[in-house]
Symmetry: C2
Amino acid sequence: MTMSHATDTARAGRPRSARAHEAILDAILELIAEGMSVDALSIEAVAARAGVGKATIYRRWPNKQAMLSEAVQELKGPAPHPVGTGVRERLISLVSKIAAGDERAARIFPCMLPEMLRSQAAYELWQEIIEPRREMMREVLRQGIADGEVRAEIDIEAVCAVLTGPVLVSRVMRWNPRLDDAALPGQVVDVVLSGIAAPA
Amino acid sequence: MTMSHATDTARAGRPRSARAHEAILDAILELIAEGMSVDALSIEAVAARAGVGKATIYRRWPNKQAMLSEAVQELKGPAPHPVGTGVRERLISLVSKIAAGDERAARIFPCMLPEMLRSQAAYELWQEIIEPRREMMREVLRQGIADGEVRAEIDIEAVCAVLTGPVLVSRVMRWNPRLDDAALPGQVVDVVLSGIAAPA
């Protein structure tokens, strides 16, 4: 934050407080991307990186968890809404967006994985991101049942896992180098809808 | 390694060289479980932890990668063979074993995840473990096709991902706390075999 106030305003075109807010969120994501753990991430470290005083942070968020939550929510954006008509098209639109964030998200997520399993705070942060995404998928399946496209007796939680898991392990873990990540969402949805069993 | 030779032999009941071999493999797994990266793991560190000389290691493995590979293979054991008759039972037996290693494996795997994405050596190590497991699953699917239980036109790689991904994200990442990990393998296989679409 060494720019003069005039230059700064000209570049950003918005009030200083909005810029500070963004600088703080960016600082959090940068620190995590560099390998700092959620537990180790302190208000002091964030303030120093963002070039703001600690009071500026305390004025905006009641605690570290709320601040982190907003940073990670901003990184991932809102849960995508399904696009298209019919359960197949709508599921493909959701499955295609799994782990398809920007490059920064792709870099940050694996860094947080081991910690998500050690730290309840980090795990809850992650669940805050994915629960609205699961809910979109459940809603498409419920609508599919209502429209008579999907059998009513399915276990919706298990089906969401079957729809999500393959793309998640492929894109996040590179589970199998032979998979075609662009084709995978359609392949997964078709397997889930039609099954692979030969007709009796 | 402070035990006397007599006590040591009585406890282990096998030659000193076999015990050294195991101590080295254990040392590697302990160091990784404690957070040491595969790239940082040195022959020196392993020798010190195992209480052996570096020459003892150099006599056994041509390089670090070979030594690590054996340690991780030992941790995971050989790829499990399918059990049961018919494609459903055999797939459930394989899917049930995904990420169902001992507690040490469950602790070590997430520690290695971020590194697997940064380091080609760590990624190859991981692929050495899972490729034989994928091959078992492909073989069950091929047999299912030969037996007329599975449709011949399926994409076997994609179907393996659909079978594996849900259990992997659930057990390794705790993706959804609502899932029942014991029931999940059967649920996944039934979705994959029968699909969820309502009869036309």
